[in-house]
C-alpha cells in the first residue's frame, strides 16, 4: 500500500467530512493559483499555515514534505532572476528584479497551496477522497479508475520487486550491457503480463461477489454542524484571499 503518513490522526481537520475539505481546498487553491498579488500570497501562506498547524502533523515528516516541494521553488529562485524579464543591472550580468519577484511569488503561492492540501486533503485517506469525489459528482468510472489505480499500483510494484529479487539471486548485476537491457526488458514485460493476469483474477473475484461497476463505501458519514462551520470558514477564507488581490502591495 502506498503510505499515507498524514491520513491517520484525530485532529479537528481529520474528523471533518472529506467532501467539505475537497470543496474548501479547491476554492482556496484556485484563488491562490490565479492571484498575482503578494498580499494574497503572503496572507494565504499564513492562513493555510494555521490550518496546517491545526491538523497536527508529524513535525519531521511535514518538514520533509515541504522541503521536497521547495527544491523546485529554489530552482526557480536560482534561475528566474537571471533569465526572466528585462536587464536592469549591468550589461554583462543579467539580473532582473521582475524575475526575482516572480520567483518569490511562485514560491509563496506554491507553499500556500501545499499547506492547504497537506492540511485539508492529506488528512483524509485516498479511498475516502475518491468516494467523496464521486458524491460530489465526479463520474463513477473516473472514481473507480482512481481508486483501483491507487490500490493496484502497489501490487504491480510488489510483483516487479519479486522478479527483480529473483534476478538478483541468480547473480544478475546491472551493468551498461546488452544483457542488462535485455534482462530489464524481460522484467518489465513479465511484470506487465503478470499484472494483467492478476488483474483478471481480481476482476473474477469481484464478479463472483456481485460487483456491478460501483464501489460502495462502507462508511457514509453525514456532514455535521462542525463540518458546515468549517465549510463556511474555508469559503470565507477564499473570499478574503480573493479580495486581497485587489489591494496591490506597494512593493
Amino acid at each position: 500500500m502506498i503510505e499515507e503518513p498524514f491520513a491517520s490522526g484525530s485532529s479537528f481537520l481529520h474528523r471533518r467530512d472529506p467532501r467539505i475539505k475537497l470543496i474548501g481546498a479547491a476554492c482556496i487553491s484556485l484563488v491562490l493559483a490565479l492571484s498575482t498579488s503578494f498580499l494574497t500570497a503572503v496572507t494565504g501562506c499564513i492562513l493555510t499555515g494555521f490550518l496546517l498547524i491545526l491538523s497536527q502533523p508529524n513535525p519531521k515528516r511535514i518538514v520533509q514534505r515541504i522541503l521536497g516541494v521547495n527544491v523546485f521553488t529554489l530552482f526557480l529562485l536560482i534561475t528566474l532572476p537571471f533569465t526572466y524579464g528585462s536587464n536592469e543591472a549591468t550589461s554583462w550580468f543579467h539580473f532582473s528584479q521582475d524575475g526575482l519577484r516572480m520567483a518569490t511569488l511562485i514560491a509563496l503561492k506554491s507553499n500556500a497551496i501545499l499547506f492547504c492540501f497537506l492540511a485539508l486533503l492529506a488528512t483524509s485517506s485516498t479511498v475516502s477522497l475518491g468516494h467523496s469525489l464521486e458524491k460530489l459528482g465526479m463520474p463513477r468510472k473516473l472514481t473507480f479508475l482512481l481508486l483501483f489505480s491507487y490500490r493496484q499500483l502497489f501490487i504491480i510494484h510488489q510483483e516487479y520487486k519479486r522478479l527483480q529479487r529473483a534476478a538478483l539471486l541468480r547473480g544478475f548485476i546491472p551493468k551498461n550491457s546488452l544483457h542488462t537491457y535485455r534482462t530489464y526488458s524481460h522484467l518489465f514485460a513479465m511484470t506487465l503480463v503478470k499484472s494483467w493476469n492478476r488483474a483478471e483474477r481480481v476482476q473474477q473475484a469481484m464478479l463472483l461477489r456481485g460487483f456491478n461497476g460501483r464501489l460502495i463505501p462502507l462508511n457514509q458519514p453525514q456532514p455535521t454542524q462542525a463540518d458546515y462551520s468549517l465549510l463556511i470558514l474555508l469559503l470565507l477564507l477564499s473570499l478574503i484571499l480573493a479580495g486581497l488581490s485587489f489591494f496591490p502591495l506597494p512593493l
Binding site: M1, R198, V202, Q204, A205, M206, R209, G210, I216, L218
Partner: protein, 242 residues
C-alpha cells in the same frame, strides 16, 4: 421422485481455445448437500471445472442447472454466484480492499445490504472464524494462513449454500490447517474441495472424485488414505491391486 438438486452439471465438455484434445469430456454431477472431494494431477482441469460452474468460463457443450433451471446468460450466473462461494487458490487474488472489514463487507454491500447491516454480518462472520478484532487489519499485511481465513470470510459473509474450495490447505501450517478442517465441519455446508492433501479430504469430505482424461470418476469408498511410498508417483491418487 427425488427432489431437484441445488446444482447439476450435465454433460459438460470443454477444451482450451486452440487445443484439439478436450480438457473436460462429458462431466455429469449432482450436488445437493454433499461434501465432495476432487483429486487429480496438475493441469487435469479441476480448477477449470470450478470456474465453469461459477460461469467464469463458457463451456463448449453441456448444461449447468441451479435448482433445476438451466443457466444460460451472464444474468443467470449472477443469481448462481449469490448461492455459491468460490475460494481461490491464491488468497492474494481474492483480497483487494485495504482493510479486512471492507473486504468482507464487499459482497454484502454489492448485494444491496445497508452499510450497518453489512458491517454487522462481516464482524459476525469474522468472529465465527476466530478472527475477532481483525476488522481494521490491512489485508496485504496478513500472514498466509490469516489471508486464507479472511478470504473464506469474504465468501461466508455472502451466506452461500455451496462452497467451492480450490486447494484450501495449500501452504497452511498444521495448526491453521486443523482450524480450517474444524471450521468446515462446523459450517456443515455442501462443498466441493479440490486438494492434493488426502488427509484433509478424508476429514472434510464424504465422497471423492478424481478427474482423469477429462472424465469424472467416483473413487471407491474407504480406499483413500495417504501412506509412504518409495516409488516416485506416491503423491498421485492411485489404486492398489488386490
Amino acid at each position: 421422485m427425488s427432489k431437484t438438486p441445488l446444482l447439476e452439471l450435465r454433460n459438460i465438455s470443454y477444451s482450451y481455445p486452440g487445443h484439439t484434445s478436450s480438457l473436460l469430456n462429458g462431466i455429469n454431477l449432482q450436488i445437493d448437500n454433499e461434501h465432495i472431494g476432487l483429486i487429480g494431477s496438475n493441469g487435469c482441469g479441476k480448477t477449470t471445472l470450478l470456474q465453469i460452474i461459477m460461469g467464469l468460463i463458457q463451456v463448449d457443450t453441456g448444461e449447468i442447472l441451479l435448482d433445476g433451471t438451466v443457466l444460460e446468460q451472464e444474468k443467470d450466473f449472477r443469481n448462481l454466484r449469490r448461492k455459491l462461494g468460490f475460494l481461490f487458490q491464491n488468497s492474494d487474488d481474492q483480497l483487494f480492499s485495504p482493510t479486512v472489514l471492507e473486504d468482507v463487507a464487499f459482497g454484502p454491500l454489492n448485494h444491496g445490504l445497508k452499510s450497518d447491516d453489512a458491517k454487522e454480518i462481516s464482524i459476525a462472520t469474522l468472529e465465527q472464524l476466530g478472527l475477532k478484532n481483525f476488522e481494521d487489519r490491512i489485508t496485504h499485511k496478513l500472514s498466509g494462513g490469516e489471508k486464507k481465513l479472511v478470504a473464506l470470510a469474504t465468501i461466508l459473509s455472502m451466506q452461500p449454500q455451496l462452497l467451492l474450495l480450490d486447494e484450501p490447505s495449500n501452504n497452511l501450517d498444521p495448526a491453521t490447517r486443523e482450524r480450517l478442517i474444524e471450521i468446515l465441519r462446523e459450517l456443515n455446508l455442501a462443498h466441493i474441495i479440490i486438494s492434493h492433501d488426502l488427509d484433509f479430504l478424508a476429514s472434510t469430505c464424504s465422497k471423492l472424485y478424481t478427474l482423469s482424461d477429462g472424465k469424472l470418476v467416483r473413487c471407491e469408498d474407504k480406499q483413500v488414505h495417504s501412506h509412504e511410498h518409495i516409488h516416485p508417483y506416491g503423491n498421485h491418487p492411485h489404486q492398489h491391486g488386490e
